[in-house]
């Protein structure tokens, strides 16, 4: 009972802040709402018993990536209100099509999980057990070793690319 109240309260807050992110005029405020949003998602992870994921969410997303977003947004100084400037390359139709596709995917996952009871609960049970650091590590280095290594190589390539780009004018 108490868990359900916390869950729905958190979900309402997360959705509310998500709406604030895209509806506010000031870009810096928008990033700040996103920070709050990510922190609330971390609390949702705690509620699911996945403390490791929650802490990593705060450390990587809220504490790392969004700081860089904030840097960029602060330095380019987007003080103009959005209606005075319309990006000529704006792809409204493509954007609508992509967001429709993502929505359809979410609906499909929801329907699939709802209709086949053995589909999603197995994943959820694993997630609860995986709150432990050792279990996440175990799963990551056995079942998901190849995706893990592919992601590492992707990050390595991005890192080398950044160094090459930064060194060009030296």
């Amino acid at each position: 009972m108490g868990e359900a109240i916390v869950f729905y309260g958190l979900s309402a807050l997360i959705l509310g802040f998500a709406v604030m992110v895209i509806s506010t005029r000031d870009t810096v405020h928008s990033v700040l709402f996103l920070v709050v949003n990510f922190l609330l998602v971390a609390m949702l992870y705690v509620l699911l018993g996945a403390e490791f994921l929650a802490v990593i969410q705060v450390l990587v997303y809220a504490g790392g990536i969004l700081v860089l977003y904030l840097f960029v947004v602060m330095l380019v100084n987007l003080k103009r209100p959005p209606e005075t400037y319309q990006d000529p390359r704006r792809q409204t139709r493509l954007g609508l099509a992509l967001s429709g596709a993502v929505l359809a995917e979410f609906v499909a996952i929801g329907v699939y999980g709802y209709t086949s009871p053995e589909g999603l609960p197995a994943v959820a049970a694993q997630a609860v057990e995986g709150g432990n650091v050792e279990q996440v590590g175990w799963v990551l280095y056995t079942n998901y070793l190849i995706p893990f290594e592919v992601a590492s190589i992707l990050l390595l390539v991005a890192m080398i690319g950044a160094i090459v780009l930064a060194q060009r004018d030296v």
Binding site: E51, V55, I56, V58, L59, G63, V67, L70, M74, V133
Partner: protein, 339 residues
């Protein structure tokens, strides 16, 4: 009910008050220590030997006019000092001040909670403090605070990488992320990790000094260049919140360093049975004593060393400390596999 709600709440109240009092007296101690180093007396007027000076300071700061610049972003300007202070305080939730003690017939652990990702929690919460600094600089809408906050952020992010790298090798040694677990690992090893990982200890200490913006790394507050730093536009109690946060962060770094490297609540040389009489001193006193030593060293260094230049600071962070951190992980891993 009593064990799950009342005792934790009492512990939180006591701990927060103790930290805030400790912070105000850190300011006095800093002024006194620096004065002694420079053959002065320091504050002497309020109370015996200036002992009531922090209270006078607090009253003065609260009585000051609270100014918000006209062109500042009002909401963010108000939120920034709070965002700086809160992470510095909630880190204490996982700091173990001592093992379980018997108190009125009840076994009470001297820490608020022991989560199995304690060390990661410390790092994650500490990484949030940087927001307050960026936002303070940006919301003031003034050039010096903005420059200072960019410097501060660059410094914090760079040294956070080095410190986190170092913590990886420490976790490899301890085999756990729980703060209580790390102290117990040192008890089982019979040796403080400062002796097992001396390189990590030194790098952590340097990184900790840089992360708390203390001299010789107090670049974000270089008065000569930035007229005061990211909090130039703040006045009264809001300015005081930044100072509280800075000193609270010093205490955080000192307690974390004590837990990770100096054996937390353990007595010196926990493996030597001949020194067993040292156990007569309660465990939490050892913890506070070690923390105090760290804090004193912070002040001592500030009174002794001149400020680094900005490019030297960045070079030290990226070209010295981070490579040492990575090398330390490799060596620790190899040794761990071989043993």
């Amino acid at each position: 009910m009593v064990d799950t709600l009342v005792i934790p709440l009492l512990k939180i109240v006591i701990l927060l008050n103790a930290i805030l009092i400790a912070v105000t007296y850190m300011v006095l101690l800093e002024r006194k220590v620096i004065a002694w180093v420079q053959s002065r007396l320091g504050p002497m007027r309020v109370g015996p030997y200036g002992a009531l000076q922090p209270i006078a300071d607090a009253i003065k700061l609260m009585a000051k006019e609270d100014i918000t610049p006209t062109r500042a972003d009002r909401w963010v300007f108000t939120a920034a000092p709070i965002v700086v202070l809160v992470p510095a305080l909630i880190v204490f939730a996982v700091i173990p001040f001592g093992p379980e003690v018997e108190l009125f017939g009840r076994s009470v652990p001297l820490y608020i909670t022991d989560i199995n990702v304690g060390l990661l929690y410390v790092v994650a919460i500490a990484s949030l403090g940087v927001y307050g600094i960026i936002l303070a600089g940006w919301a003031s809408n003034s050039k010096y605070p903005l420059l200072a906050s960019l410097r501060a952020t660059a410094q914090l992010i760079s040294y956070e990488v080095a410190v986190t790298m170092i913590l990886v090798s420490l976790v490899l040694t301890a085999g756990t992320l729980s703060m209580v677990g790390i102290v117990e690992a040192q008890r089982d090893a019979g040796l403080w990790f400062a002796f097992v990982q001396p390189v990590a200890f030194v790098v952590f200490f340097i990184g900790g000094m840089a992360e708390t913006n203390r001299a010789p790394f107090d670049m974000p507050e270089a008065e000569q260049e930035l007229t005061g730093g990211f909090h130039t536009e703040y006045s009264g109690m809001r300015f005081a919140l930044f100072f509280l946060a800075e000193y609270a962060n010093m205490i955080v770094i000192s307690t974390v360093a004590t837990t990770l490297f100096l054996g937390g609540w353990l007595r010196p040389f926990p493996g030597v049975a001949a020194l067993g009489f040292l156990d007569l001193v309660p465990a939490w006193i050892w913890f506070l004593f070690k923390t105090f030593v760290f804090l004193y060293v912070f002040l001592w260094i500030r009174a002794t060393l001149p400020r680094y230049r900005y490019d030297q600071l960045m070079r030290l962070g990226w070209k010295v400390l981070i490579p040492i951190g990575i090398g330390n992980i490799v060596v620790t891993g190899v040794v761990k596999v071989l043993l």
